[in-house]
Every structure is written in C-alpha cells, then in structure tokens.
C-alpha cells in the first residue's frame, strides 16, 4: 500500500490509553484553556441576569427598583465580579485569537494578523462606548 493509507495494524505498545479527567491540571497552558472553556458558563449566567432585568423593567418601576436593590446583595455582586473577570478573559483571548481564524486579503496581499486583532479591539472600544453613552449618557 502507498504511504497515503497507513497500516491500521497496531503495534503492541500503542494501544490508546484513556485520558484522565483532570489532564488539564498541572500544565499552565492546559489550565488556561480550561478556564477559557469555563467562561462559557458565565456568559450563560449573564443572559439569565439580563433577562431578569428585562422582565423587571416590563413589570414596572417598583420591580426595576427591586432588581437594582437585589443586584447590590453580596452574593450577586460576588458572582457578577467573578463573571466579569471570566467574560473579559474570554473577550481578550477571543480577539487575540481572531488573526488565526480570519484571513483577509486586500489587493492580493494578506492583511497582517496584528491589524485584524487591533480592529477587533477597536470595535470592542467603540461598542462599549456606545453602550455607555446610551445607558449613562457620558
């Protein structure tokens, strides 16, 4: 057979070993990867939190004020603080990885990865500024 279809016979010492559940502990970059994967849980929590806010606003002014009071409780504050760290970590790693995922060519030459990452960060700043302007007016 040709080199394109390697033999499927296993050598005696190459039987696949099961991967341990905590393979990602004990190596800094594997651990960082798992933290990043874990950030998805906090993204989901934010959706829940946002929908609680939306539903409070629909119910009326008293419900909205109750939401603002509830959001100042220690447990919710702590959860949101941890969530913010994970969400920012997710955003930074996502934008920094964008050049690996997106190839843009202008006039036949490839746009450098740093420009793609920079445009994502610029977009992040603009979006954040617009949200701040809408909600706070500064």
């Amino acid at each position: 057979m040709s080199a394109l279809s390697p033999s499927t016979e296993r050598l005696p010492n190459t039987r696949p070993q099961p991967v341990p559940t905590f393979w990602w502990l004990g190596n800094a970059s594997y651990f960082a990867f798992m933290l990043r994967e874990l950030s998805c849980v906090f993204v989901a929590w934010f959706v829940v939190y946002l929908l609680i806010l939306v539903s409070a606003v629909s119910e009326g002014e008293a419900a909205y004020q109750a939401f603002v009071g509830w959001s100042g409780g220690l447990g919710i504050l702590a959860l949101n603080f941890v969530s913010l760290l994970f969400v920012v970590y997710h955003a930074v790693t996502f934008f920094s990885a964008a050049p690996q995922a997106i190839v843009v060519r202008i006039g036949g030459s490839r746009v450098p990865g740093s420009a793609i990452a920079a445009s994502h960060y610029a977009g992040w700043v603009v979006v954040s500024a617009v949200v701040l302007w809408i909600l706070v007016g500064v």
Binding site: P18, V19, P20, T21, W23, W24, M34, E37, L38, C40, V41, V43, A44, F46, V47, Y49, L50, L51, L53, V54, S55, V57, S58, E61, Y64, Q65, V68, S71, G72, I76, L77, N80, F81, S83, L84, V87, V88, H90, A91, F94, F95, A101, H120, G123, W124, V127, S128, V131, L132, I134, L135, V136
Partner: protein
C-alpha cells in the same frame, strides 16, 4: 459559524453591560438609569433586536462550548448524547424565553 458569531457578539457586548449592571450601578459608582430612561432604551425595537441576537448567539455559544468541555475537557463521553440534548435543548428553550420576555416589554 453560530459559535464564532456568538463569541464575537458576547465578547463585544457582555463585558460593558456586566460592568455597568453587575458592578457599577449596584455599588453606586455610577447612578443607575432612571426607570423612564431604561424603559425608553428597552422600548426601542433596535435595542430589543440587538439583545435578542446577543441572548440567542450567547446561549448557543455556551451550549457548544459546554458540551465539548464536558466531553473532551472532563472526558465524560458516555453521557454525550444527554449532555448535547441538555445543552442545545437548553439554548433553544432559553432563546424562546428571551424572545418572549423581550417581545412583551411595553
């Protein structure tokens, strides 16, 4: 496609919204919007469309990543069918709830 769109939209919008509604408003760093203000912002159909896209894309982003974290990260492959059902099913249900709640804002 949905996964990376969810990644971009959630990365762009969630940090600032969580910083404001989760930290800055409750701690009084910035005065929270008045009820009339937040009602007007949410009353705008464009806001609700953006928030619906944010919720739906973020939920599917979560579902995809959660399923693969359990399967490949924690190596729990035996339950993959169930985990996938709960993840993507949860994202579908969450999207319907989000659409309903955003629809009924006065």
């Amino acid at each position: 496609m949905v996964f990376s769109a969810g990644g971009v939209v959630s990365a762009m919008l969630i940090p600032v919204l969580l910083l404001l509604f989760g930290i800055a408003f409750p701690l009084g760093w910035v005065a929270p919007p008045t009820y009339a203000h937040i009602g007007a912002v949410l009353g705008n159909p464009l806001t609700r469309l953006v928030l619906l896209a944010l919720c739906v894309l973020s939920l599917f982003h979560w579902a995809h990543r959660f399923r693969h974290t359990v399967k490949d990260g924690l190596q729990i492959k035996a339950l993959d069918g169930l985990v996938a059902l709960v993840s993507y099913g949860g994202a579908v249900v969450g999207s319907v709830v989000a659409a309903y709640l955003l629809w009924q804002v006065p």
